[in-house]
Amino acid sequence: MKLEEIIKFLSERVPRTDVGVLEKVRAFVIRDFKTWWTYRLWVLLDITGALTSVATYYFVSRIVTPTALVNAGYTADFLTFTVIGISFQHYVWSSVSSLSEAIRDEQYDGTMETILSSRTNFRVFLLGESVFRFLVGSYFLIASLVMGLIIGARFNLTLGSALSAAVLTALLIASHMVVGVLGAGAILKLKQGDPIVWAFTWLTQLFSGVLYPLGLLPEYLQWIGAAFPLTYSLDGLRRCLMNGEDLTSMAILGDAAKLVVFILVMLPISLWVFKMAYDSTRREGALGQY
């Protein structure tokens, strides 16, 4: 092939196929699943880790008195209380932190710049990166809840309470995707460490009532818990799954409303923060740097 022909070949404008958002997200999910499935041993170890952490609380529940739970308006069942707390906290933590890790890995391997210089915009990129993480998280969540059921947790399920729990879970996912996007923006700019995911992890463990009802905290610490969507999600989910209440209950409705407000306020902010970090990193030409 002559030089002129090569130049002509490279200069030719090939019309791009406009791939729909759903198709792109599907491609992200298939890609991530293939990577995930390559490390089957880790899939097994991860699930073992999640299940043993739930099982540990079976033994802790043998030395606990449920008075504080009853005072907080839940049924007197510490095991079910902690199974819900640990399972959902682990669910959102793994989904949110793995999004930051994915961004970091893409930077490390140099694939992020490649993807973002294609016609895939950053919103689709974020959505694509998040969906599989939440799907894997859901798999662990279900496994943890089933494990809880096996070791003696009792869920009070009616059609109404199950549907309400589903609505709250959807709100939990949406509100934590927002946190994940904030964390992704931070990691894009800072490269090392992720203060958002870090703060989110330890503050929620301490103040969102994962292992104890919030009433045990001094009032000024309860205020900190009120800033996190996990606090409302856990309260609502426990009322549904332990007490058998549904969305007609004022407490659950209040929790759902607060989650909706959180999403409405924080979604545009987190997208804006990510866009700022993304644009600044692009300007510096540091998308592929780590």
Partner: protein
């Protein structure tokens, strides 16, 4: 500076450090300097360690002191769980630090560079391990300071109980380090993840009685038997006997724990070195010291 001077500097044969002790010091000091470069990350780690203690303070408010005391561990759940949480976190970070740093060096392509220098690789690995112990010690001390000074936990701190704690603690590190070396050897070959350390940490947390009295496993004989194959189970029992009950090394329970930990140390440490050596040889033969 003239070009000839620069060439002269590069040509100069600088005497290399041959002393193992100096090399060891160099590895430890270099890594500590790197760690202190990430100050904000250190503060964040310290705060989350503190949070983990405070969390069990609130869990402890729900524990029935009578039920706990029937297991023979006094009435303070915070004292009970503090020893478990602090030492299991310490052990976890010590066990994983060597394998994580090897993983990091492989990914960054620096393990190969170190391997071609006259630095003795055994010195390098031991240096990385000791650095892990020292760094994690900051967090361990932080946890105990928060527990004792901040949350009012009371331990028996007679000279004999502290001596027993120290002996059991050192044996805990030696016996578990064998597993850490196995993890590092495997990670060099398989590159991704740290399955051995992860499995040991999960099982330790679940079966060694970090958060509940081990007596509760009596109703599940199989689980109780499995818990006996982890050295940490004996370490935790020995440290709790010393710090909560005030037992000394002469106490039959502590003595039994010391014997078991010594046996684990003798058994696991050589296995650890064999696997580490195997891992290093394998990646050198395969030429994969910098591929990941």
């Amino acid at each position: 500076m003239k070009r000839a001077d620069i060439v002269g500097i590069f040509k100069k044969d600088k005497p290399r450090v041959k002393s193992t002790l100096r090399q060891f010091y160099g590895v430890v000091w270099a890594n500590i300097k790197i760690m202190f470069a990430y100050k904000s990350w250190m503060i964040m780690d310290l705060l989350s360690t503190v949070a983990s203690v405070v969390m069990y303070y609130f869990v402890g408010l729900q524990v029935d002191p009578l039920t706990l005391s029937q297991s023979g561990w006094g009435t303070s759940y915070l004292a009970f769980s503090l020893i478990g949480v602090a030492t299991s976190n310490y052990l976890w970070s010590c066990l994983t630090r060597l394998s994580h740093s090897i993983q990091h060096e492989i990914r960054g392509g620096t393990l190969e560079t170190i391997a071609v220098t006259p630095v003795n690789m055994l010195t390098f690995f031991i240096g990385q391990t000791v650095r892990g112990y020292l760094v994690s010690l900051i967090f361990l001390i932080g946890v105990f300071v928060v527990g004792i000074a901040g949350l009012g936990v009371q331990f028996v701190t007679t000279p004999s109980s502290l001596m027993a704690t120290l002996v059991v603690f050192i044996l805990m590190l030696i016996s578990n380090q064998g597993l850490g070396l196995v993890a590092a050897g495997i990670i060099m070959v398989h590159k991704r993840g740290d399955p051995v350390a992860f499995m040991v940490a999960s099982m330790n947390e679940f079966l060694a009685g970090v958060l509940y009295p081990l007596e509760m496993l009596k109703v599940f004989p199989l689980l109780q038997m499995i818990s006996m194959i982890f050295p940490y189970t004996y370490a935790l029992d020995g440290m709790r006997r010393a710090l909560i009950l005030g037992a000394s090394l002469a106490d039959a329970g502590v003595l039994a724990d010391v014997v078991m930990l010594s046996a684990f140390s003798v058994l696991l440490a050589p296995i650890g070195f064999v696997v580490l050596n195997w891992g290093y040889r394998t990646i050198r033969v395969n030429g994969s010291t910098s591929s990941y």
